[in-house]
């Protein structure tokens, strides 16, 4: 410029104008930049762009997101920062490892891609709630071939002038797996513990690891931790090469199945019988971890079998006894009766007496009988129970079937005699039967007293079978028997019931 004003319309003038405009624009830009920095509208600057010897570098102004990134990187758990549009600003290495993706992947495709499309509504809801306050939700993410269980928490995060979200992710796949293993273990324990039969689980060495409640009841001490053989010393009867406890475990651990071996535990009288089975404990594949032994208590069944056998023997014995008694009654009645008719009546009467007692016994399943019932049954054909002619006192005493049968025969003889010749042969006669129990002397005597009958003037000379039955029926024991007394008012009889056959 030489102080000469440029000529209007020349090229120089135009160049000047363009340059001035450019300068003005650059100045405006610089001013705008400064204003923007001053007013906090920028948070990064490019340094070095104007110097050819220095490469351009970007520096962030103010704190920006950098400190939180450093902080997030230092965290063990997965963490991410999201802006208020739910875009991922940053994800730490832990989260990238959890999701099996790089930060760039996550920034590009978002969290939904990492968690799966189906998780999208749930994730959106979590982020929405996270903006209002802390919120958590569980997610399943497929990482490689593995499925991970993640607990994602979202909370509001201030990012400079705006608000975003802080997202943390904890992997509880392992914890869940451990919890599920623990749960199934607990279930298995409960199953074993609740088993109604004795179930004993042993490890490969035969050491007990689990026992059901019924199994515990078989041991005086806690069996867990002890060797099976020691805790349950099984005795196998007729043990000729059959396995006992130790061999049982060895066979089962070796993969063999042992089923239904009868064995006993403990010593008489507390000895119990068991049906013992053992099987290998296969956890997976061919992996035998030990064995499971079950002991089914046969004691009661055995007891029932024994009882049945006893009853059969008893029945056999009684049938033989009864037949012998019938034969004896027949022979003796025949020898003491003069006519066939007399024999028939006497014999049938005695058989009926026997039958009456048997009926009572059968009703009671051959258990004990009340003396009063036997008296009433034998006298029933002549005088019904409750009749004023029959007085019964002190007869509520239980006796064994043996004593009841004998007593029945004695009472039958006394009753038939009373009906023929004694108190029951007249309308005014009566009979009193009373029981006298002397616990100290261990004596039970029954007194039969007739009165109001025709009376006895002389003791009969003839001793028929009836007297023999009365005298001998109860004398199978030293303290048993009966004595007749021919008192003037009527027949009296003292019957002694063997003490051993009383059920007091």
């Amino acid at each position: 410029m030489s102080g000469v004003a440029p000529l209007p319309g020349t090229g120089l003038d135009i160049d000047m104008n363009v340059e001035t405009a450019s300068l003005r624009r650059r100045l405006e830009e610089a001013e705008e930049t400064l204003r923007a920095i001053r007013e906090g509208e920028v948070d990064a600057l490019v340094i070095g762009g104007s110097r050819p010897d220095r490469p351009d570098e970007v520096f962030t102004l103010e704190a920006g997101p950098e400190p939180y990134r450093v902080f997030m990187e230092a965290m063990d758990i997965g963490a991410a920062a999201l802006d208020d549009g739910d875009r991922l600003l940053f994800a730490n290495t832990a989260l990238c490892a959890l999701l099996g993706r790089s930060v760039e992947d996550l920034q590009e495709s978002g969290l939904t891609a990492a968690l799966g499309e189906e998780a999208e509504p749930q994730l959106r809801e979590l982020l929405r709630r996270g903006r209002e306050g802390r919120a958590s939700a569980e997610f399943r993410a497929g990482v490689g071939d593995e499925e991970r269980l993640l607990l994602l928490s979202a909370a509001p995060l201030r990012l400079g002038p705006t608000f975003g979200l802080a997202l943390t992710a904890a992997d509880f796949t392992e914890r869940q797996r451990a919890a599920s293993v623990e749960e199934s273990e607990r279930l298995a324990r409960a199953v074993i513990a609740s088993a109604s039969e004795a179930v004993v689980v042993c490890d490969r060495d035969g050491r007990i690891t689990h026992v059901s409640r019924s199994g515990l009841a078989l041991c005086a001490d806690v069996p867990v931790g002890r060797m099976f053989d020691e805790a349950y010393p099984l005795i196998v009867p007729e043990m000729t090469g059959l396995p006992a406890g130790e061999d049982l475990i060895a066979m089962a651990v070796g993969g063999g199945m042992i089923q239904g071996i009868e064995a006993s535990l403990g010593e008489a009288p507390a000895q119990r019988s068991f049906l013992v089975s053992a099987a290998p404990l296969i956890v997976s594949g061919d992996d035998i971890r030990g064995c499971v032994v079950t002991l089914v208590d046969l004691t009661q069944r055995k007891e029932a079998e024994r009882h049945q056998l006893l009853l059969m023997k008893e029945l056999d014995h009684r049938v033989k006894n009864t037949l012998a008694l019938v034969v004896s009654i027949c022979t003796r009645t025949a020898s003491s009766e003069d006519t066939v008719e007399g024999f028939r009546r006497a014999f049938l009467g005695r058989i009926h007496a026997l039958a009456a007692t048997h009926t009572l016994l059968a009703e009671k399943s051959w258990a004990n009988l009340l003396i009063g019932d036997v008296v009433a049954a034998e006298l029933a054909p002549y005088v019904p129970a409750g009749d004023s002619r029959l007085a019964m006192t002190g007869l509520d005493i239980w006796v064994s079937p043996r004593a009841a049968t004998a007593l029945g025969l004695v009472l039958h003889e006394l009753a038939t005699n009373a009906a023929k010749y004694g108190a029951l042969s007249t309308l005014g006669g009566s009979i009193a039967v009373s029981g006298h129990l002397d616990r100290e002397a261990e004596e039970l005597t029954l007194e039969w007293r007739e009165s109001g009958g025709p009376g006895i003037h002389t003791e009969p000379v003839r001793r028929g079978f009836g007297r023999s039955v009365i005298a001998r029926s109860l004398s199978y024991a030293p303290d048993g028997g009966a004595e007749l007394r021919f008192a003037p008012d009527g027949l009296e009889c003292t019957i002694r019931v063997p003490w051993q056959d009383l059920q007091l």
Partner: protein, 96 residues
């Protein structure tokens, strides 16, 4: 705001990684363009953190900066573009 509906708008937004202002600028620009210039804008986002040398083309100093390349003349707007009115004034094509 009267704008020529036919003329395309080409914009370049310079950002620096994920600084809050950069991200805010991206979101605001997307929103404004979608609302006011649907179908006739093209935005290129340049991350100067990964490619700082690209700052030279438009002589960028502050980030974020929006450069209107079309319609000419070129205009720059610095900041996170949160003031919609100001952005629309800068982008308005009728003044070009």
């Amino acid at each position: 705001m009267s704008q020529d509906p036919q003329r395309p708008i080409r914009l370049t937004l310079y950002v620096a990684g994920q600084t809050p202002k950069s991200l805010a600028a991206i979101r605001n620009l997307e929103r404004i363009c979608e609302e006011h210039f649907p179908g006739r804008y093209a935005v290129e986002v340049v991350d100067l953190r990964t490619a700082p040398h690209l700052a030279r083309e438009h002589n960028i100093v502050a980030i974020p900066t929006l450069v209107r390349e079309l319609p000419t003349p070129m205009r720059k707007l610095i900041g996170d573009l949160s003031d919609t009115e100001k952005v629309l004034v800068s982008l308005s094509v009728n003044e070009a």
